[in-house]
Symmetry: C2
Subunit: 405 residues, 2 copies
Amino acid sequence: MPPFDVPEGDPFGPHNLPYGVFSTPSSPRTVGVRLGDHVLDAGAAAGALGSPYADLLARPTLGPLLAAGRTAWSDVRRALTAWVTVPAHQEVIADFLHPLPSVELHLPFEVADYVDFYASENHARNVGQIFRPDGEALTPNWKHLPIGYHGRSGTVVVSGTDVVRPSGQRKTPADAAPVFGPSVKLDIEAEVGFVVGVPSALGRPVGLGDFREHVFGLCLLNDWSARDVQAWEYVPLGPFLGKSFATSVSAWITPLDALEEARLAPPERTHELLPYLDDTVPEVEPGGYDLRMSVAINGHEVSRPPFATMYWTAAQQLAHMTVNGASLRTGDLYGSGTVSGPTADERGSLLELTWNGRDVLELPDGKRTFLEDGDVVTLSAWAPGPGGARVGLGDVVGRVVPGDR
Amino acid sequence: MPPFDVPEGDPFGPHNLPYGVFSTPSSPRTVGVRLGDHVLDAGAAAGALGSPYADLLARPTLGPLLAAGRTAWSDVRRALTAWVTVPAHQEVIADFLHPLPSVELHLPFEVADYVDFYASENHARNVGQIFRPDGEALTPNWKHLPIGYHGRSGTVVVSGTDVVRPSGQRKTPADAAPVFGPSVKLDIEAEVGFVVGVPSALGRPVGLGDFREHVFGLCLLNDWSARDVQAWEYVPLGPFLGKSFATSVSAWITPLDALEEARLAPPERTHELLPYLDDTVPEVEPGGYDLRMSVAINGHEVSRPPFATMYWTAAQQLAHMTVNGASLRTGDLYGSGTVSGPTADERGSLLELTWNGRDVLELPDGKRTFLEDGDVVTLSAWAPGPGGARVGLGDVVGRVVPGDR
């Protein structure tokens, strides 16, 4: 009998091995690898096994591992896989497994620049119809480039962090002047976040085919949004305070290597793509990922957004983000944009689920249009893995709390 | 005769003392203070004088000084003033003065989040008329809040760094589909940047009156802009690749304490302000600064933007940026937005100076609508100082170079 056991079919089994940063009451932050409902102290295990990767893993952040590059990522993953599956290694590492409830999980890396995209056609059409009912749902540029903007990296927080309801200006057509107060349209955006490991040089675009050389892995991301603040402020320079108060990410970063079976081709494009975005040529990988997401409020599922339906891929977003010569840094994070599928129960925001408050969501604990104080929002997801197994992504959990004022 | 001499009236005399980070061929990066056409190795001087501030100054970045807070900022400045003016100290520090041409200047701090505002009414009206000729020049929110958005902090570069002409998508009404190539409307934006020293807690707004507790000082900033890229991409989420390829800042950060004589009241507002932005109440400082800016191309002055005309102040921008609970970090940088005065020769961008290319600027070396490869752009500025002296801000110099493709 092995010294520890992960149940058959556990979405965090040895085929997954996502990375995070944890601490315990008696030990400081260090890199952890999730295995079932335990966290492996990866640096301590590496040290005990005499692994050359102890230097990348016995760190208070994922930064050095992220910066180490694709070959190191694969080598470390291969080593970890051996440690958790080969009996002789299992004996050694069993001492470095901590039950999840006994540790505190932290933001796993320092976020450099944070960019958020807008890559779901269903989402963009819904938002366009809601905010610009008299115009075309999609702006003329939407099918030609992955629209994105920079967000606030300093307010990216780890799953479990409370989110203070933001105050701000809002103005409805009925108001003669803007009014100030706590947002009355606090919303979520269910997204996937991509984590850049390897930097690039200023002035040098990163091509579509170099996606896997620069991007280490992905996480779930909740781009909290104050719709009333956003609607008043966003013309002409885009969202600012309606988004900048908090962005929550999962504590676990799933390496791309764990998602080989989840890769798929993106939906067919309706418009010809410029060469730097053209992923239909044979030498470029398809770029899509089959991630099945779920949104729950207070434990009640309200939506199942399908990431496979995204129009623009993460590789295209990376190519676009750098085509002007903008450089990448280790720790850059970019969000996919809200993931919404074609059906009403696949929408990734309350804005869409309630059509900006027109419709009401019936939850076991009451009706909702937007979020109430005390609401706990949980994003979760899984992807197809090897042999029918599921690859679990880390949850993003956040509770809404009122501000002081 | 003192061991060193700064000419009477030098804008970088002992009344100024801006901070930067320099290195020499034989010594690594450390904090420098500009005095005339020399740089004082501040940490080495502090060490030789037995100053308690050596720990804040003998560092490769301004970060620790920025984080130290208002009391420390004033104490360090008082000490530096004594070192450069009291003969006994002058003897000691003379050994630690390096001629400017002998040092390399670096980005003086790690930029955390970078935000850019849009606070000049003249600029916003000009841009509105150019980009939205059929609508109101100012959007309905403009007089109610300082409009801003997040930029890319990873591409903030120090003065002297070449700027590679960005490529990107553009589409004019005459184009059936977007075309790709090097920007044909590369522009500048003459701005002032404000540097945050003291962080704030997530969920806690920073009030108007706390501006000087959090903001250490200011610099000049050139927010390079590819107007053709920007025009095609910016609806609905704002500027992205049209700006993210480079933002240049001066190597010198002028502390607010050096600008006491330059403080003034902002222009009268035409709309009532919500309380968190209302700087007309007596207990709040006026918030404006009298900075006289100059824009030159290849040494030829093309504009003199007056910062005193800005509608929104840096204190209002800070209060707005945090009113939703967004936290500040040491090293946050925010730009004023392009500074444009009311007259045609006071405009801070070529977009405005040439009215989007309709008019031509006659320079000694030829005609310009937008920037040509090889052009060197220089922003400079001064402010009124004590006893009629000028306080010089550090120049921002950048040369446009073609991309590889």
